[in-house]
């Protein structure tokens, strides 16, 4: 698609109306600094960037950049407006009110969304962003390239799969189930030899025979239930004086003393890791807060303020993750402590409850059990922390520990005297109880296996997607690298910076960088050795390669991109633009008068339009176009301000114009020594052109070729005025405005003489050197060498 017109109103530098009409051609727009060139680029970026202009993203521009977008002289009742007209009578119109809220008519929204699909990396390049791709971090390069490579959707798929596996883990409660399974299995294995249901079923069948249970129960659960009923029945038949052994066994199994030991151990670990974690947290998070502010402003490698390591912004997250692990360990220790405290308190309460059991108290109240009785009495007076069991203090722990030590010593002794018949009943009861957990264990295991297979499937799919992205990226980067190499060699022939390539980093996730060979030495980044000028040139090569990769026919916008290029490289760039982007519309903005003049003389007006902006005056006047395509308006702006400078400016413009024209025409001048050779004045060139023109410059008139004498007269007149008024050193009186105006007019007229009246092209546009002549497009104007 081609831009027909950019029409701005009260947007940035434009006042009531500023129109850039391209005639659907590529355009070169010249304007001095602050003449309003970038306002047109801003208008495009506002739409492409969904209301965001990158260079205006700062604290002063407002949340919608409204303070920077609106012309400061905008009347209160006016909105800012951007209208872009394309070929085939399509247009988009965006209205922006004073608060920065923009509206787009419904019928324009489809085209707006197409524009928003333009990738900035391959469509729009500004002066201060020429080397932006090089300056990106490896991760930013990856993110910037991904949409261009058409891989952003695959990347999104990888991300979705990652989110899904995380979400399945969370929603299926697989981790809790694993913990539960682990606990149940551990408990069961203290009694059972194996968790194999066949073996347990066999053992239960044998036990059932021992208890005269003849039913051949179909499954483990029902057999286990039948046995539990039978065993409980037999326990109920135990003689009263022996019943205390059952209670003592239960008390013993509460393992209150062991649980207290576990709580004490967990307390030590938690105290240690919590202290450590707090120190880490303070030492990491405080500097991390400052660190984030720094990395917003700098893409450079900097020292992590927490530990002093040299670290990239992208690596910072990894670093923080490690520190978070320490915090999580501390949190885990805290959780373990809480669990142990709760388990201990539960067992303590159970122990106290069991001590009130009649089967036990009748024995406990016997005089010979005074010692045990007094310990239980002390235990009943212990104040157990009610709200948070974790808050046991050292004194409480010491007191309870001493009591439990004595109680369990007596209970252990009693347990050893348990009659064998009771011991066997208890053992069988425990076995049956443990075997009853087997179905639950199996159910949990099956569910965990299923969910885990789903998680593995999602993770493997994510890995496969990422591998696919990597393989495709490598393939496309190879092609881009070839393009970059080709463009670089055009801009820098015979220079020993070779083998420039974009590559995927193997040791980092989502990372792309640029390597090259610098005078025979391999370099992993251009930032190590290339000068700023070369970095900019490489950045431009990458941009142009990406633009070439983009198969669309959308326009390419280049805003003042040659600031750091010397004349030679600017010339080479002109050739690259001519050769490589013949079929694309290019909007080229420049403040470089010399380059603009060269472009005017080299680019064919059939495909290119040349426009110049007048110097910007104030917000209410806004952007203004010059009538002429020459750059004399820069001089004209000085007529009433500084007339002397105006004359000099006009001369300087002619110096540039005529040096280019002389080169085009192959005008021979005497060699001068040193710098003087490069700083010839327009007078020298004019003299030589005037000398050669009578025998070389021909114009077709009424079917016959005639010397173009009117042009020679114009050049003679121009030369005379340039000598008189165009050089401050050459005249003694002061230049007055009317003289300056006359000088500019004669200069413009003299340059127009090189253009054909019929086709409007310069005389050198068609090179006919095989026929020893240059000519315009229609051939009516010729510069002959014979």
């Amino acid at each position: 698609m081609r831009i027909q017109e950019i029409r701005l109103s009260w947007f940035r530098g434009s006042s009531n109306e500023a129109v850039l009409n391209t005639d659907l051609k590529s355009v070169v727009i010249y304007g001095k600094n602050a003449s309003g060139k970038s306002t047109f680029v801003d208008g495009l970026e506002y739409i492409v960037g969904k209301g965001r202009i990158r260079h205006l993203a700062h604290e002063y521009s407002g949340s919608r950049q409204e303070k920077a977008i609106r012309n400061t002289a905008t009347p209160d009742d006016e909105n800012s407006r951007i209208i872009i007209r394309f070929d085939k009578n399509r247009e988009v119109c965006v209205e922006i009110n004073a608060d920065g809220v923009s509206t787009v008519p419904r019928e324009h929204r489809n085209l707006v969304s197409i524009m928003q699909n333009w990738n900035v990396e391959s469509h729009l390049l500004r002066q201060d962003e020429v080397a932006r791709f090089i300056l990106y971090t490896k991760g930013q390069k990856y993110s910037a390239l991904l949409p261009l490579l058409g891989l952003d959707t695959l990347e999104q798929a990888g991300e979705n799969l990652h989110q899904l596996s995380t979400k399945v883990t969370e929603r299926s409660s697989i981790e809790e189930h694993k913990t539960q399974l682990n606990m149940l299995s551990k408990e069961a294995l203290t009694v059972l030899e194996s968790l194999e249901s066949d073996q347990v079923f066999d053992d239960l069948t044998k036990l059932a025979a021992q208890y005269n249970i003849l039913e051949s129960a179909g499954n483990l659960s029902s057999l286990s239930e039948s046995l539990a009923i039978e065993i409980d029945k037999r326990i109920g038949q135990i003689e009263p004086e022996l019943e205390r052994y059952l209670v003592i066994k239960e008390m013993h199994d509460e393992e209150s003393l062991n649980k207290m030991n576990e709580m004490i151990d967990a307390r030590k670990v938690a105290e240690k890791s919590v202290d450590l974690a707090l120190d880490i947290r303070i030492s990491v998070l405080e500097p991390a807060e400052r660190f984030i502010t720094i990395i917003k402003d700098s893409k450079e490698e900097i020292s992590c303020p927490a530990c002093g390591q040299k670290i990239l912004a992208g690596s910072f997250m990894d670093h923080v993750k490690k520190e978070l692990e320490s915090l999580r360990e501390a949190r885990e220790a805290r959780k373990t402590l809480r669990d142990k405290c709760n388990a201990f308190v539960r067992s303590l309460i159970n122990l106290q409850e069991k001590a009130k059991d009649e089967k036990f108290t009748s024995w406990l109240n016997l005089p010979e059990q005074d010692d045990l009785s007094s310990q239980f009495s002390k235990l009943s007076k212990v104040a157990i922390p009610q709200q948070d069991h974790i808050q046991w203090n050292d004194e409480q722990i010491a007191e309870v520990y001493k009591i439990l030590l004595k109680i369990y010593a007596i209970l252990d002794k009693q347990l050893k005297n348990t009659p064998p018949s009771i011991e066997e009943l208890v053992k069988h009861k425990e076995y049956v109880k443990a075997s009853g957990k087997i179905p639950e264990i199996q159910k949990l295991q099956t569910d965990i296996d299923l969910v885990q297979s789903l998680i593995n499937f999602l993770e493997n799919s994510e890995n496969a997607v990422r591998n696919e992205i990597k393989a495709r990226t490598e393939k496309i980067l190879e092609k881009i690298s070839d393009d970059v190499k080709e463009l670089w060699s055009k801009l820098h022939p015979d220079e020993l910076i070779e083998d420039i390539k974009l590559y995927v980093q193997n040791d980092a996730d989502k990372a792309i960088d640029i390597g090259l060979r610098f005078f025979g030495t391999d370099q992993p980044s251009p930032r190590l050795t290339l000068s700023e000028g070369y970095r900019n040139c490489l950045g431009l090569c990458i941009f142009l390669s990406l633009a070439r990769l983009d198969k669309s026919d959308d326009p390419i916008i280049l805003d003042d991109i040659v600031s750091s290029f010397d004349r030679e490289h600017r010339g080479m760039l002109t050739s690259v633009i001519l050769d490589e982007f013949e079929d694309r519309q290019v909007l080229l903005f420049t403040h470089d008068r010399e380059w603009y003049s060269e472009l005017c003389h080299r680019l064919p007006s059939a495909n290119w339009k040349f426009m110049t902006l007048m110097p910007w005056k104030d917000p209410s006047v806004g952007i203004r176009w010059a009538e002429s395509t020459y750059t004399f308006d820069d001089a004209r702006a000085l007529i009433n301000v500084n007339t002397e400078a105006c004359g000099n400016r006009a001369r300087a413009i002619m110096d540039v114009q005529l040096s280019i024209i002389a080169e085009k025409l192959g005008i021979m001048v005497h060699h001068l020594r040193g710098d003087r050779n490069d700083h010839r004045t327009c007078i020298e060139f004019l003299e030589q052109i005037i000398n050669e023109a009578p025998k070389r410059f021909r114009k077709k008139s009424n079917g016959t070729w005639q010397p173009y004498e009117e042009s020679i007269s114009e050049w003679i007149a121009a030369k005379a005025l340039l000598i008189a008024w165009g050089d401050r050193a050459s005249h003694t009186g002061s230049l007055v405005p009317s003289e300056a105006e006359a000088l500019i007019k004669i200069c413009e007229k003299s340059l127009d003489c090189f253009k054909c009246d019929s086709c409007g092209e310069y005389v050198w546009i068609a090179n006919q050197m095989s026929r020893k002549r240059l000519q315009c497009a229609c051939g009516d104007l010729q510069w002959r060498y014979e």
Binding site: M1, D87, K88, R90, N110, L111, I114, N117, G150, T153, L154, Q156, A157, N160, L161, Q163, L164, K167, V168, E170, R171, S172, D447, L450, V451, S453, L454, N456, F457, N460, S461, A464, V465, E468, K551, S552, D553
Partner: protein, 82 residues
């Protein structure tokens, strides 16, 4: 030209969706994943373009819940049968 661009864009999308489906099939078969209903569901998401476009946290949760039900062989409620 608008329609041309749109078609080109949707061709690219179709290609991505086909690539995704191939990846899912291949991972499912290489890993002998015992969840044909989940594989089918994920293939459907790839075909519809759901898998390669941004999903909100709520929609990821909905998809994950459905996958869990499918792998557990549970009945799907009316609202999750999409």
């Amino acid at each position: 030209m608008v329609s041309g661009n749109t078609e080109e864009h949707s061709e690219d999308k179709n290609q991505v969706e086909k690539s995704l489906q191939n990846i899912i099939r291949s991972v499912s078969s290489e890993n002998k994943f015992n969840g044909s209903s989940v594989t089918g569901y994920l293939l459907g998401l790839a075909e519809k373009g759901t898998l390669n476009t941004h999903q909100t946290s709520a929609s990821v949760t909905r998809i994950a819940d459905k996958m869990i039900k499918l792998i557990r062989g549970e009945n799907l409620s009316e609202d999750s049968r999409d």
